[in-house]
Symmetry: C2
Subunit: 176 residues, 2 copies
């Protein structure tokens, strides 16, 4: 199976978006630069339909053929016109089946980019091999949580990297 | 006014208790040891009534006279029998009035120990001088959030200290 790395930027209190505002405009430029840079080491991406919508034009206009993108939706047929085999694929398959499909097509390193529902489905399935959290120095008190349903998972801390004097990148591994 | 330091231990996703279980039994022993040790540098404590209930016997049996404890409740009269002047006081006063009272009685360094409602009231009032977060390497997906209402506060990172190889103590200052 490809190695699956959950990548998220969040407030100190665990929100990946602020209040009812979609997107990650609260994130530091350093986090955006980190994400753009690190994605060069990946060959596939997974994200939810809402995350796709916020990135839509950038994805559809992208010239790189590096990424096989899997977009999670309950209604993949509704996106048939936007799909491009090997680049932009819409799926309602189960997490394990998505990774098995990526494996069968030679993909080795996959970034799980959100949102909360997509993170939660792969966490619940026990398929996340690494958890990379950018911790922005904010408190929001409400918003989209990193995980949208109750679970109980333990990790070990692999590394701590300051992206700015105030923003930390924390990398965790699941405790098996 | 006394310096007010919010001290909390939380999961990576911002929960100060797991699911519907009160208390902090998910926290590392290292965090408990840190808290016991650091409280020696404080002369006053603030917490909510529910937090009082989980600590009740320990507080009422404590022999130290070091701490003036303010316990937030909408019904201080209901706790009249447990109150001990200068040691255990129940109050429904506003956050600023509580700190003014502590100041008038010579208290200089106060720890705000939770829970979520108590944290939120002092954060909303702009009265938190430092934010100390112990980040336990867990994901819960549900529980008591650090802040129980929407807010939008920014901080600067003051220090990062590992309490164990997996548990980080992060100290933040409000961005003024």
């Amino acid at each position: 199976m490809p190695r699956l790395i959950l990548i998220a930027a969040q407030s100190l209190d665990g929100y990946i978006s602020r209040h009812d505002q979609p997107g990650t405009d609260f994130c530091s430029e350093a986090d955006a630069a980190f994400l753009a840079s690190t994605l060069k080491d990946f060959d596939s991406l997974i994200f939810g339909r809402k995350t796709f919508d916020t990135l839509r034009q950038r994805i559809l206009n992208a010239t790189t053929r590096r990424f096989l993108r899997k977009i999670l939706t309950r209604t993949p047929d509704a996106y048939r016109d936007l799909a491009q085999r090997d680049r932009v694929e819409f799926t309602d398959a189960a997490p394990a089946d998505i990774l098995a499909d990526l494996e069968s097509r030679g993909r080795q390193r996959c970034a799980l980019l959100g949102g909360g529902e997509a993170y939660t489905r792969f966490l619940e399935a026990g398929l996340v091999d690494e958890l990379w959290l950018t911790l922005e120095p904010r408190l929001f008190g409400s918003g989209t949580p990193l995980a949208t349903r109750a679970l109980d998972l333990a990790f070990t801390l692999d590394s701590t990297t300051p992206l700015t004097p105030d923003t930390l990148l924390l990398k965790y591994l699941p405790r098996r």
